[in-house]
Symmetry: C2
Subunit: 346 residues, 2 copies
Amino acid sequence: MKAIKVLQYGLGPIGLEIVEVLLTRPWVQLVGAIEIDKNKVGRDVGDLLDPPRKVGVTVSGKARDVLKRTSPDIVTHATSSYIQTIHSQIVEIVEHGASVVSSAEELSYPFVKHPELSKKIDQQAKEKKVVVLGTGVNPGFMLDTLTVALSGVCQKVNSIRAERVVDASRRRLRLQKKIGAGLSPDEFGRRVAAGKIKHVGLPESVGLIALAMGWKVGEIQERISPVIAESALSSDYIEVPQGAVAGVRQVAKGILAGQELVVLDLRIYLGAQNPHDSILIDGVPPVDMTIRGGVHGDRATPAIIVNSLQKIARLEPGLRTMIDLPPIAPAQSLPEEDRSVMLKTF
Amino acid sequence: MKAIKVLQYGLGPIGLEIVEVLLTRPWVQLVGAIEIDKNKVGRDVGDLLDPPRKVGVTVSGKARDVLKRTSPDIVTHATSSYIQTIHSQIVEIVEHGASVVSSAEELSYPFVKHPELSKKIDQQAKEKKVVVLGTGVNPGFMLDTLTVALSGVCQKVNSIRAERVVDASRRRLRLQKKIGAGLSPDEFGRRVAAGKIKHVGLPESVGLIALAMGWKVGEIQERISPVIAESALSSDYIEVPQGAVAGVRQVAKGILAGQELVVLDLRIYLGAQNPHDSILIDGVPPVDMTIRGGVHGDRATPAIIVNSLQKIARLEPGLRTMIDLPPIAPAQSLPEEDRSVMLKTF
């Protein structure tokens, strides 16, 4: 089977880790890399990896040129969380006849926040017979797709409660700053009010779950609050005095007729004692799932993006979501028509 | 959207619970019921439910007649575990242009044990443009599909270990007998040797995982051993003296070049202290998942079968597996083209 031609769009931390994973897949041919940062343009993409090595793909700042020249089957995309920012990039990619798998959080379920742009992208993708998909670990997997997958064992679901608790101590400095670690509660409040402390994606996850369940959700409530350090904390980068902010707690609720159908609870802070992902389904039968230690987001998002690539070509064209996709595994080969993978009978 | 016309084939305990779940779905029209048991033929299928009620569908013993008369879109099928037994039933259903979702364990991954019959079913389904799928809680979900779904977060998977521990105390008498509860270890051994004590499906689950991962598994080892009662046990039905058999442990391993890639460990016995389902993925990142209490199989298998129905029509025709299917939720409505399920923006 022919390799899938993939182009990486965006070479920040996530984009570079996507490249690392793409390079481990024998069924992927990396045909190009796009980045606006002038310090990266013109270099071999391998120079930006750790450890640096020769890859043979030169970083370009001109999206149109490289799309035209390389004709990728799929573009893996990691530039911004917001549809307003990325939609012209998506449109340009689709114009060139390539599918897109993006880490943009808003793209995981864009139909409510951006109905017009969603329709436009959907129609254009259908015309060009390609697929546009937003995914990642959160939104895209832990709080939404996995919840829907688990609900498959239920005859009936009454309500869902999922939480993700991340110990930020060993994460990137950028993430530690993003969650407000080390701030005073007052300063934290000001930054929340200014929209500077905010994880993008919880309402999108509520939307994906509601879509799968066939629930018309009347109202989404979202609340951001600080997690206060009960004693002094420190990471490699930041000192947090007692009483200061250790990180963030963000809760989104999907409510119908006064009933909390979906509650998603995300806590990311320094020194979290029992990091985990958990999904509790009140249903018949009930499901009480926990992933001990939680799933490492910086590892998982690039994995999910690359693992989804084999499934993209089989989806109906258009703007799709993760609940349209069969389970994605880190397959080392392209699927063969012969499905008898055992050499001996059993 | 038009309802899906569903016919139930087989009215044992699983078949009847499938009917119960079908009746809760407004998007399903139950058009017929087939059963060979003369005591059930001719009665309203609702007479066989608990509590009995009028459903308006008469049980028929003549499959061909009722298939022809009712023209179902999909047949939900629960008659036997074995391809040899069911394949003529499947062929007859497909001849009538209906898809099949079956609880037959061997059908969940039939390509190795029955390559010729698999090919025949696959070709016939493709000709008739219908889908044939084998599923259920185990094989079909807990040890295989869920494992594959979780692996989506991994850049790389080295090996997988999944276990399902079921407390048989509150399960049906038939299941308690099937696992050998109350037997002496010698009698248990004789029944294992005679093929009378055996859960069907662990090698099939290994096959599904290997197929998803792109692993060519060289060898499957399967071992059945008794779980011995350390002290006297009893259920509502069976007394187990100390030293007698409390139930069964069955382990299947998928091995490649001496390495245990997949180990599936199923224990079903009276008095299991900590029933659970767990999946441990040695990968990057690792995943350590547990479902506390485990998922109730008699509830889950009918749920999975009914929940899969909405996804069947969108699959490529042929003999498919659960890893071809998007996540299945207990949706209360058929999917709409409008995916903005929130009434208010967020």
